[in-house]
Amino acid sequence: MDAKDKDFIENYNKFKDKIYTYFWYRVNFNTALAEDLTAEVFVKAFKNYNDFDTKKPFQAWIYAIAHNHLVNYYRTANREVDLEQAYSLSINDAGKLDAKFELERIVAIINSLEPYCREVLQLRFIDQLSNTEIAQMLQKDEGAIRTQISRAMQILKEKIKEYG
């Protein structure tokens, strides 16, 4: 095992839970599916790790792979429907989880937001990424991300008020 392999395993141990959480929130809290997607992402990352510039942050890179993988997962004809359904069902599922819990309700509401709002809010608050990291990941300007997060927060508040 060479140094790069060891480095990758270290990064895996550091980010495995974050990536799992990332998927868990985006596949309607499906644990098994989130685990499968996490595994696929890390395998994919390992195969491409030779091309990874170690000077750049691993977190941004692995999130980018996870994001693309999730997009690919829902991109197939059948899954596109599932993706929409997943988000629309989120509110009901949140009820299943126990709507009494405010945080879960908030998550359900986030999932019901427009994609651009949902994405930045999830990345910022669930995945705990910085604005810079979100900007790198979504290949956008940091200022634009800040504005987008601010706007998404506003919409979320309105929605929470709306759902009571």
Binding site: M1, K47, E102
Partner: protein, 374 residues
């Protein structure tokens, strides 16, 4: 807004289950293993094999070639590996060990030289007599060192050391006999003299031929001699030197005539014994042609001995008499018995020495010696 942010920051974070974690790690380690395998295959390229190749070559140079050279009797003088062989032998000799073991090592090396002489006699025959002579000279040197070590051993070890020397002498006589048979009587005079003298020297250790030499006054400082510088014209200076060494080794306790009358009497005795030897050889069905050649050589030596007396060159005379007697003593090693070759199997080598002719020759010498002593 801040309240909302704090709420969002407190959203639950999930942990990957242990089972899933192990499954992912297993997949990753499998990938790493596959990568290693594929890299290993790629490493069979010449560039990656260079260190292994270099190690292998060093191993050959340091262990295999010297080991092969050291253990092989076919590596003889003139072979490019011979210095390697000798170098290793020198190391072996210089290792710290008890005197007894040193004796054994010197004897082993002397035998090895004789084996090489046999190989040379087989390969080069009479084409390269110098190489055989030099090898025999080395053997004589080593033999002498073994004897010195045996003498210098303490009382406890002397018997053991002498046993080693005596046993080696038996084997060496056999080996020299083989060399003599291969070289034959038609070979270079110096080479024949070297072999004959070496045989005499070795047999001295077997205590079979003491009688012959004891019949003459002892001379520890006997100088070298006639035959060694004989005018065969074939030997290089090195081989002449080595030939002298062989003679010197075998002469330490031998002839040292200093007066004309003594010399003439000694020659006459030798002449008589040579005639007796001829009769004996003819009687024992030795090949007549070879017997003739032998007689020619012996007679030439006798004639030259007379010349040496005329020239008052007693050193040369002593040498000539030594080699003449050595050749006569060991004549049967150089010539072939018709019966023996016809039967396909011969007498034991020891029988040569016990044959009538040799004994008569030596007994005659003994008698003469006794007379002189009186």
């Amino acid at each position: 807004m801040d309240n909302m942010e704090s709420k969002l920051n407190n959203l639950p974070r999930k942990k990957l289950s242990r089972k899933a974690d192990l499954a992912i790690k297993l997949k990753l380690y499998c990938l790493i293993w596959r990568k290693l395998i594929s890299n290993f295959e790629w490493d069979f390229s010449f560039a990656s094999l260079r260190p292994a190749l270099a190690t292998f070559l060093i191993l050959i140079a340091v262990v295999i070639i010297p080991g092969y050279a050291y253990a092989n009797d076919n590596i003889t003088r003139g072979n490019f590996l011979y210095p390697v062989k000798r170098g290793l032998e020198n190391i072996e000799i210089n290792l710290p060990m008890p005197e007894n073991q040193k004796v054994a090592i010197y004897e082993k090396l002397a035998e090895r030289r004789l084996n090489e002489a046999e190989v040379l006699a087989d390969q080069a025959g009479n084409d390269k007599p110098e190489l055989i002579k030099d090898t025999l000279a080395e053997a004589a040197n080593l033999k002498e060192k073994a004897e010195e070590k045996a003498k210098n051993s303490d009382i406890k070890n002397t018997i053991k050391a002498n046993e080693i020397v005596t046993k080696s002498a038996e084997r060496q006589t056999e080996k020299l006999s083989k060399v003599a048979q291969k070289v034959g009587i038609g070979s270079n005079d110096e080479l024949i003299d070297s072999i004959a003298l070496a045989l005499d020297h070795v047999k001295t250790n077997k205590k079979e031929d003491h009688k012959f030499y004891n019949s003459f006054p002892e001379a520890e400082d006997a100088t070298v001699t006639g035959t060694s510088t004989e005018d065969t014209g074939t030997g290089s200076s090195t081989s002449q030197k080595s030939h002298q060494t062989v003679i010197k080794k075998s002469q330490k306790k031998k002839i040292n005539l200093s007066t004309r009358s003594e010399a003439e009497r000694a020659i006459t005795e030798v002449k008589e014994n040579v005639t007796a030897l001829k009769d004996s050889l003819t009687k024992d069905s030795y090949q007549p042609e070879e017997v003739e050649k032998l007689m020619d050589k012996l007679n030439t030596k006798i004639n030259r001995s007379y010349q040496a007396i005329e020239e008052n060159d007693f050193n040369k005379l002593n040498g000539l008499l030594d080699t003449t007697k050595a050749l006569a003593n060991n004549a049967k090693h150089f010539i072939h018995n018709e019966n023996k070759s016809n039967n396909g199997k011969g007498k034991d080598k020891g029988q040569f020495q016990n044959s009538t002719s040799s004994n008569s020759f030596e007994n005659a010498d003994k008698k003469n010696g006794n007379k002189r002593n009186k």
